[in-house]
Amino acid sequence: MSPKQLETQYDVVIVGAGAAGLSASLGLVRSDRFAQMKEEGRTPRILVISKLQPLRSHTGSAEGGIAASLGSIDHDDWHWHFYDTIKGSDWLADQDMAEILAKEAPATVIGLEHDGVAFSRTEDGHIAQRLFGGHTAEFGKQPVRRTAYAADRIGHQILHALWQQCVKEGVEFAEEWYVSDLVVERDGNGHTTARGLVVIDTHSGKVHGVNARNIVLATGGAGRLFHTTSNSWDLTGDGMALALEAGLQLEDTEFVQFHPTGLAHTGILLSEAARGEGGRLLNADGEHFMDRYAPGHGDLAARDVVSRSIVAEVDAGRGVADPKDPNGPKDCVWLDLTGIGEQTLKEKLPEVCDTVREYAGLDPAHDLIPIKPTAHYTMGGIPITADGNVYEWVDGSRRIVDGLYAAGECSCVSVHGANRLGANSLLDACLFGSRTGAAIANAIADDPMAGVPDEELIDVDSTAVDDAADNRERGIKALLQPANADADDNDSDADNADDANGGAQTDDNPYRLMADLGALMERHAAVRCDHDGIATALATIDDTLAPRAERLHAHSDTAAYNQELTAILEARHLVTLATVMLAASDAREESRGSLYRTDHPQRDDERFLAHSMVTRDRGVAWQPVTITAYPPKARQY
């Protein structure tokens, strides 16, 4: 679906159509202020732009659930959820934001139910809830059933229900449009205002400038930075990279959650239930090593602990190769389910067994399963306030970017801090997404230019957007030329690099580049890192990968459905994002949550009880954590 024509100016453009983008759309069009504007005959012009058809969004892959202290089964209290979220974050979450998350969670889940989500139910018809790691009653005393679920398909249910509601509300979509540029203008005082976007309609390859008074970035995470990831192929950090390229900052990018048991070769998650039912992790020597790292917890220690232990074994030379690639790196360990017994496997772990059989060709009852930690969630992102406003951290205070908002995994309101609690990600996306939509409704209702008829639209200054669109159009044209057509004799640097890399490099492509970047990040930045590894990775990007990204050309000159064209821009986004992620990891000389620095293994609240704020030039500023209720303690489970 594409708009029949673009408006001269949009009041709101939402980029991304997963849980966050769709929630923002609904939060906007269902608000009282929006209804009032419609009544006054000035219906706001709204467009949702997404690089995928909305139902393909990665939200649909979420399995576990969405947390809320509904108390359907166990007695629960939002204060406990609030506390668990902060503890899970290793005290890096902003506590005022975590409070909103926990307090508004029940209304959010009820709202989703009213939207049609087919939640699993209790016998008496209420929304069923189940146990999830880290969710407790009475401030850590005992586990509590807080996670609402829909079998193992909660993401699918939420995505489809939100899309269905958008169909009902008549929300307009531009599907399979890729945003290549975010246009913001900075005035003499350093004050920034969002002006619009440059987009590529992938159906035709045409470039359009889109003028917008308000923009929401809801583009999802960046799991594709790593070779092994549970994320879809489209999670290339586009929104985060757009913000960086527009001169804005990202917050806490060094925190990436790794799930310990990703199926080797694919990165597909094997549920924690596999270890809950008695699965054991073994190294190359057949040693059951987790008892050595986490006595008393063993294979069921916290996700980050297990991930680090696996990588430590691999680093010590006790890893195994993926049987699919017997001569490849020995970067896996075994998950042993053979002791569980065929009957139990069938009854308790059908999904896990299906996945292993389907995607590894192994039989869990008789074969060891190669696993390794898989990149799962980016805790950091575009810094936002409680209402979704994007801000810059300048001279010790927040400065709002006018008209720019963000929501979901690409944003960082900082409820997840250094480590996200399970079942809090859908909640973040839906809850803060809706809040953002409602906040924008308030903003445009007070904007005299919003929703007025075309002929009354005055002062639409589209110069900045037009210029950016012209630039991008020229760039696209160049990318569609064959690689050798623009060989520039004066560009000796590039020539030398080509020579040094041999003939193969001249037929480079973005898919190969993304694979190489993923392997590099996995080697130096996955699960654990140190200064030397980070420096090596940055040098490799600067010397090899970034120049390669700049030299890429499409292998077909037909612009329509030219996926390689989009992939080139995605690869460049990932390269940009990788450099700031590495820079922020290097600057944080401590270990906290998902970030483990082997050269700085302790948490350091003196220096780093703060959010990193990194810019494209790799400069890092620090924003103190907001602490309202619970002062930092050691994080123990």
């Binding site: 679906m1 408006e7 035709s204 492509n509």
Partner: protein
């Protein structure tokens, strides 16, 4: 069969039906600026008109030969082709494990998902006279592909193995393996695929009505839960001989979406949903061929579900005519 045999290496040729659309001729551009007023639409015309015209462009068949594991998915193979042989090959894909629904294509002529199709289940010898054990030349894949997969051990090692790939049938091809499935999504939207709650909400002591969920017990959930798992991939539509992305039949996917709400105890719009299916493109257009059930990646017996709904439509029609 041992695992070693299952995961052997194979040399496979992917035979891909390719299509590159012809670029729009500059003279035919409809309007210049995308900022034109509503009346001067740069996208022009009516969407349906464009759909019926077969797109102009270059069509050809291209072969890619590669070494793969028998347990690899066909999507894995295509990603390898993109990375190592031909970055210009176009096909949709996203999650890679059967949840997003973006990668429905025809494999050996049968609609299914690239990411759930395994090489071992779809390779076949490249001999025109190839006959199966039963003495017949296979013309399509059986419902349970595993049961009828080739015995790879029995094959002459020099046999050329082929998998044929083409865009999802029933829809216009846009480029290579990318089909335009907007007709399906339009039809799903047409049947108002959203909960129209009957409104039995509990009220709090203070009179608040939105504080609680609609009650629904597990048995009521079970009546529509499987239907709600539909990922709108289009496999059922591409398998249906009646459906051709046109206006004659609203299609199995849209009817499944409608059935999902008809069977949801919270929904209060069953009567109007059934009435909508009384249109000529609705229940009556389905010929109960049941090809739609064969490869549903979510395991929905689409044909049976449609039959159940058609019976409800017929009953509603009879009772409305009686009035």
């Amino acid at each position: 069969m041992t695992n070693a045999a299952v995961d052997r290496m194979l040399t496979v040729t992917l035979r891909v039906s390719r299509f590159t659309p012809k670029p729009e001729r500059p003279g035919r551009r409809r309007g210049g600026s995308p900022f034109g007023s509503r009346s001067k639409s740069p996208f022009g015309g009516d969407a349906a008109a464009g759909r019926t015209n077969r797109a102009r462009g270059k069509r050809w068949t291209q072969e890619y030969t590669l070494d793969v594991h028998a347990s690899d998915s066909v999507l894995d193979c295509l990603l390898t082709v993109k990375r190592e042989q031909d970055p210009s090959l176009a096909f949709r894909y996203s999650c890679g494990h059967g949840m997003c629904g973006s990668d429905a294509v025809a494999i050996n002529g049968t609609p299914t998902l690239l990411c759930t199709a395994k090489v071992r289940d779809w390779v076949r010898p490249d001999t025109p006279g190839f006959v199966g054990d039963d003495g017949f030349r296979p013309t399509g894949e059986p419902v349970d592909a595993d049961a009828h997969a080739l015995d790879l051990d029995a094959l002459d090692p020099d046999t050329t193995l082929v998998i044929e790939l083409a865009a999802l049938p029933g829809f216009p091809t846009q480029r290579d393996l990318i089909a335009d499935i907007d007709p399906m999504l339009d039809q799903i939207r047409k049947l108002e695929p959203y909960l129209k709650a009957s409104g039995d909400l509990q009220v709090t002591d203070e009179g608040k009505i939105n504080a609680f969920e609609y009650l629904q017990n597990p048995e009521q959930l079970a009546r529509y839960e499987l239907l709600s798992n539909c990922i709108a991939c289009g496999v059922c539509e591409g398998s249906c001989p009646v459906y051709a992305g046109g206006d004659a039949f609203v299609g199995p996917a849209a009817m499944i979406a409608a059935s999902r709400f008809i069977n949801d105890s919270r929904d209060g719009a069953t009567a109007s949903r059934l009435t909508a299916l009384m249109e000529p493109d609705g229940a009556r257009a389905c010929q109960s061929v049941r090809a739609c059930s064969m490869h549903c990646p979510k395991g929905i017996d689409v044909g049976e579900e449609l039959w159940q709904t058609i019976q409800k439509v017929d009953a509603a029609r009879v009772s409305s005519e009686a009035e």
